[in-house]
């Protein structure tokens, strides 16, 4: 129970706009999480391999490029193949509502669209990490402004 929650944060694909990824990473670090920041130009394979190696509780991916469906499906599939489907997968960025259902089916546990609050992300992770079960319905935590 005293263990810190470990979260991997990174961006998949070629897009280099990392303002969201790095601010969330810093916010989580300041909120007492252990953050593994892998940064830009990751592939789904690199993300999952780093997640397994670092034994993280959650993977946080930031995507603004529009490639979220393909990318998240692949990450969740790789996690299942590795027997690590209990790793929480959260997604931030420009994620249109019409894609939320598809992402939920893929195995994304929560979506935090742009202007989600740091507090909401941290609270959600605390609630769901460390023994809590994932694999229930995807949540889009209530938007309370930023």
């Amino acid at each position: 129970m005293t263990r810190l929650i470990r979260v991997l944060v990174g961006k998949v694909g070629l897009d280099g706009h990392d303002r969201g990824a790095k601010t969330v990473a810093l916010a989580l670090r300041n909120a007492g999480f252990e953050v593994v920041y892998v940064g830009l130009r990751q592939t789904p394979e690199m993300i999952v391999s780093a997640a397994l190696q670092e034994d993280v509780d959650a993977i946080g991916i930031s995507l603004l490029s529009g490639a979220h469906n393909e990318v998240m499906e692949r990450i969740c599939e790789l996690l299942r193949e590795a027997g690590a489907a209990d790793t929480l997968v959260i997604l931030g960025g420009n994620i249109p509502e019409r894609d939320h259902a598809r992402l939920a089916t893929a195995g994304v546990d929560a979506i935090f669209p742009t202007s989600s609050s740091f507090t909401d992300i941290a609270e959600w992770l605390r609630e769901h990490a460390l023994g809590a079960t994932s694999g229930k319905e995807t949540e889009v935590p209530h938007r309370r402004g930023r």
Partner: protein, 542 residues
């Protein structure tokens, strides 16, 4: 609403500083300008130190160039968009490339999955460039191309196309951004390490000075750096430091500093801080003129001009109540014009959702036209000059930029600070603080942390532009055909020329033009370049 009134009163007192944190007084008076000399601080428009504008009479003689950023899907789709803009009276084209093109990856590279044609046009070969400009003569167009790490290759294609069209190289007008420094700091789209990148940047500039006298071979940018977290004065400081490196590199090749200075231009823009934006533009003109004259010994006025492509800042736009963005964009446009920009690209209200729709593009164009033709704002040069506040803030902003440049100097200069990650870490921390200030309500953003309304976004999303799914497949098909059609021996020979230039430090541009003519792809050329120059991975910003 007493609650709201109470908060309005406290707001004014609590946030009396610019978005960069420059402290403001409630009122500025003649005392603030004691000892302030309009002759040395301002001059007149078109004369040193150019605070009031780089041209005499400014917009009274020529309006700013009204631009809009475009480019998506394949070359044909972008060509359609170009023609649409052209028919709507746009005087210059502005071109976005997809991420694979910006990174020098061919459209069939495994890493490009889902990215081909998504954020801009996909260009693999000279053939794509032909399709992009079909029906648009290159001597009748000025295109601003947002291309950096692979700027030498894209420019080589543009020149090869002009050669084919029979357009004299000296008639080519336009701009390649050719600014890698912001890629390390903000966009992440770099290929080579800073030092070899600087060499390629200098190759492009040297070549353009000698062969394309009307073409702008570099536009150094601040807005991306601002968007990624830096305060605007810091972003401008990094921009000027990059410009100094570039000028020194080109001058070292024996090019006259007056010739280089005459070809350099800048991209800087508005954020929601209206007066700071105006003052940043004024301060930047004065500072750049001084640097060119005093540090680099330029003696021709045209070499001292801060040619400014103004922009808005999508960072200040919101996904919440997105039509509010039209008000923000209008104010950003007005600040740029009061600040004396030479061209202007404004963001679109729907950018938080997707690549702007045609209606959104037209609205942003019309905001500019309304500013230009209906408001009377352009009639008088630098209309805010002499204001106690504006002149005080202009001085203060200039001091901030200089102080920031000195801080980087203490860290060993721009390249060392990037390679060490010092600037990136600074920026990440700032970005976090800015975001926290909004979330904790210290900075009001209408519709985001105040005045919130419930809205159904799915309706909005369904109207938005969607990239045709088949674009990538078609592009890969064309690439395969283009590879088939080449003469392998001629291609090998042309590639050898490129490698020879790279290893011998000769200018790489003419060999690149030969190679694209022989059918070399952007991926093949980038690979050849990393083979000699090496590839690079910047340190973590955290």
């Amino acid at each position: 609403m007493s609650d709201e009134q109470a908060r309005q009163t406290t707001h004014a007192a609590a946030v009396r500083e610019t978005t960069s944190g420059i402290k403001l007084k409630a009122e500025y008076t003649a005392e603030d300008l004691a000892g302030w000399d309009p002759e040395t601080k301002l001059g007149s428009a078109g004369s040193y130190p150019f605070t009031r504008g780089i041209h005499p009479e400014m917009y009274g003689r020529q309006l700013w160039t009204i631009r809009q950023y475009a480019g998506y899907g394949d070359a044909k789709a972008t060509n359609d968009r170009f023609r649409f803009l052209y028919e709507n009276g746009q005087t210059g084209l502005s071109l976005a490339f997809d991420l694979p093109t910006q990174l020098g990856l061919d459209s069939d590279h495994p890493e490009t999955l889902g990215e081909v044609g998504r954020l801009g046009v996909a260009i693999d070969t000279l053939d794509d460039m032909r399709r992009l400009y079909e029906g648009i003569p290159l001597d009748g167009t000025a295109t601003s191309m947002t291309i950096n790490a692979t700027a030498p290759i894209i420019l080589a294609m543009y020149i090869a196309l002009a050669d084919e069209q029979g357009v004299d190289r000296t008639k080519l007008r336009g701009t390649v951004q050719n600014d890698v420094f912001k890629e390390y700091l903000a966009r992440g789209l770099y290929v080579f390490a800073p030092t070899p990148s600087l060499r390629l940047t200098a190759d492009v500039i040297e070549f353009c000075v000698r062969e394309l006298p009307r073409f702008n071979p570099i536009s150094i940018s601040a807005p991306h750096i601002r968007s990624a977290g830096a305060r605007y004065p810091d972003a401008l400081a990094y921009m000027f430091l990059a410009a100094e490196l570039v000028i020194a590199a080109v001058v070292a090749r024996g090019v006259d500093v007056n010739q280089v200075g005459a070809r350099i231009s800048f991209l800087a823009g508005a954020d929601n801080d209206f007066f700071e934006t105006v003052c940043r533009h004024r301060a930047s003109r004065r500072l750049w003129a001084k640097l060119m004259k005093e540090r680099f010994g330029a003696d021709e006025p045209r070499a001292m001009l801060y040619r400014l492509a103004g922009s808005g800042n999508p960072l200040n736009l919101t996904a919440e109540q997105p039509l509010n963005n039209l008000a923000r964009i209008t104010l950003q446009g007005l600040a740029n014009v009061l600040g004396g920009c030479q061209s202007l690209v404004l963001p679109c209200w729907d950018e938080a959702y997707t690549i702007p729709t045609e209606d959104a593009v037209r609205l942003s164009l019309n905001i500019q036209r309304i500013l230009a033709y209906e408001t009377g704002v352009p009639d008088v040069v630098d209309p805010l000059a002499g204001s106690y506040f504006v002149e005080s803030l202009t001085d203060e902003v200039e001091r901030e930029i200089v102080a920031s440049m000195e801080r980087v100097g203490e860290q060993g200069g721009l390249i060392a600070s990037i390679e060490d990650g010092w600037i990136q870490r600074e920026m990440a921390q700032r970005a976090y603080e800015q975001e926290r200030d909004i979330q904790e309500g210290r900075r009001v953003v209408v519709g985001v942390n105040r005045f919130i309304v419930e809205e159904d976004r799915s309706a909005l999303e369904s109207e938005m532009h969607v990239v045709r799914a088949s674009v990538a497949d078609e592009q890969r098909e064309r690439l395969a055909q283009a590879r088939e059609a080449r003469n392998p021996a001629a291609l090998r020979e042309a590639m050898r020329e490129v490698e020879h230039a790279l290893t011998s430090s000769a200018n790489v541009m003419e060999p690149l033009i030969g190679a694209v003519r022989a059918g070399a792809t952007i991926g093949e050329l980038t690979e050849a370049m990393t083979g000699v120059l090496g590839s690079y991975r910047a340190p973590s910003p955290l």
